[in-house]
Symmetry: C2
Subunit: 419 residues, 2 copies
Amino acid sequence: MRFSRMLIPTTKETPNDAVLTSHILLLRAGFIQSIGSGLYNFLPLGKITLDKVRQIVKEELDKAGCNEVHLPIVTPITLWEETGRADKFGKELLRFKDRHENNFVLSPTNEEAMVNLVRQTVKSYKQLPLNVYQINWKFRDEVRPRFGLMRGREFLMKDAYSFHATTEDMEREFALMEETYKKIFTRLGLAFRVVEADSGAIGGAGSKEFMVLADSGEDTIMVCDACDFGANVEVLSEDEKVCPKCGGGLSQTKGIEAGHIFQLGTVYSEPMKAEFLDEDQKLKPFVMGTYGIGVSRLLAGIIEQNHDENGCVWTKESAPFLVDIIVAKAKNEEQMAAAEKLYAELQSKGVDVLLDDRADKKTGFGVKIKDFELIGIPYAVVIGNDVSEGKVEFITRDGLQKESLSTENLVEQILEKLA
Amino acid sequence: MRFSRMLIPTTKETPNDAVLTSHILLLRAGFIQSIGSGLYNFLPLGKITLDKVRQIVKEELDKAGCNEVHLPIVTPITLWEETGRADKFGKELLRFKDRHENNFVLSPTNEEAMVNLVRQTVKSYKQLPLNVYQINWKFRDEVRPRFGLMRGREFLMKDAYSFHATTEDMEREFALMEETYKKIFTRLGLAFRVVEADSGAIGGAGSKEFMVLADSGEDTIMVCDACDFGANVEVLSEDEKVCPKCGGGLSQTKGIEAGHIFQLGTVYSEPMKAEFLDEDQKLKPFVMGTYGIGVSRLLAGIIEQNHDENGCVWTKESAPFLVDIIVAKAKNEEQMAAAEKLYAELQSKGVDVLLDDRADKKTGFGVKIKDFELIGIPYAVVIGNDVSEGKVEFITRDGLQKESLSTENLVEQILEKLA
């Protein structure tokens, strides 16, 4: 893509109401734009990044055998009445009436709607197990939305629900989802911990959270320096705060909850009479698990963990582009020709490239470098005066290391660095 | 994908409230499921198909230089008040209050929200032209939702909005969008006509509709047999119904409106004070165009145009899978081995393949063939008893032609037929 043709409204000013780093940087770098309390437009860079994260989540779930579906955001409240959650859920559940005075909710989560989908289509144990998911927008009417994408009102979430004939099979799927989530967070290039979220469940496995490690995290977690033990500090008794099983040392750190997996059992299927015919010809309620990932929240989590004083530092798999080709003087024909050539060659190799071809007076070399740093594209190639001597500059965003590259075999050298 | 692992609840029964062919077939073939008046779950086949159509729309818009964004579905009503549409729009505009008694709408369209996005980020003629779009769910509180995806309440729409310094430039973009839409509808394999939608505009070009030709269409259009002239019959005067410019013969046919492009001018930018600084340093309102495609409606349109008495007949680019490998007896080791081999080979060539590996007693060869015909996958390869003599059957869904293929060079023969 060409910078000159994209809507990327970067700004130096820190927005008024933003205090969290990711909120400030995503606004300043032109990824998002506020349109109301807890409501954000995703501008072109934000949309591309969201799609990249979404695609990784989708690919790993599909590999694990999950079925992707799409449910309406508007859900009849009758489904919520079947489980009693229409009453129990507080004001975060946004309710409204349609023109015929029928009651609906804007879905903040979809246990009821997904149980309804499955009870109409799955009748026999032979159709089990089944794991059904969607990646869709949800609405939670937070009393005080804040922190940008970290706690918005309308947010993108992956919600998966699995259905089983037995508890053992649900536990198998729960373990598979834990592994699948680890693959997703690892592919995203994140430092994270899986932590026990449920006190009763330590040793069991009722509920686990996936924590993106970041100083700004809202949760305090205990981690071991000798094993992969981790737990939300709130669920630990005083005894447990001293001695994990492996005997290593414990320390506290901060985490952002970006995923959560639950063993549900039959708490939704029983009241909703979601039953299947088992091998012994008896009707039984589905044994269920549920698995969430905050997809739009992950954008904030990635930046909370990966930024510096100059801006965002996207990980390779989450970045809107992998390489930014910066033409120092876009009106210089030699520079522009070299940049166009490199742009075409990298694209032909399947690399996501942004060509900063802006040629207006206000957008000099300094502005382009500042924008590269603020946006946080992993690598830049600067094509400046030295190109006439066969040289360009290669910058790695993380650490801002610079090195000179020869224009001979330039594409091969760059591909090696990206690998 | 393996049929045995996918949720594809096909059924012989015609659903109660469905009268339109596409509504009946999409329900019966397990693409969608009703969850309330005008509200549908997209089941796995429906989700895959929707994504394929969406991807084609996105690719062609991106090639035309458009910028993809994402806007919240929940929009502050204050934006709609700026243009007066909060009052003018009837009950189809669903309004509600959040917990703080602030007023919102569920967006049925996004002129105001997109003008708001652009007026905050585009200040100079140098940033023009700009065409911004999203492919997102909309809500229209129809008084009587019906015909399935043809007239649902929650629906997927591509809405694009272009911003220009001059009317001439907007007209250039309007022509570009007309060409882009033609490419989209052609790639989808649809028979369609572009028709004049606006009486005053014949000869001019204020508004054009893209009509998918189908007997069940709600609109009557006049087309010429000698040129590509077409017009909504309602906009033609008696004189115009007799003599198109080219001198050919006119006839009437039916169409489904699947796309609509408009020259808007400044009707939104003026009341919303969306202005840019022009070359002469004067503030001017953006000249706008707007361009819609009903993405979920297209699924219905494709089936209205492409079906037979046995079920759906998806076009190649819209089909959930291109090839269905039917294993006549999945418990026969030789058949299953041959099917697995073909499945792996076709996948390695990038072909979207469904392997009907169902092995339960109820799902015999006849059921698999009926499901293939109902779902409407373009091609099937039947692996049955003849495989031991080196033969398989190849079926083309459109017309149900059958031919015998040798297992020698089978992949090459199949790829040739798919091309």
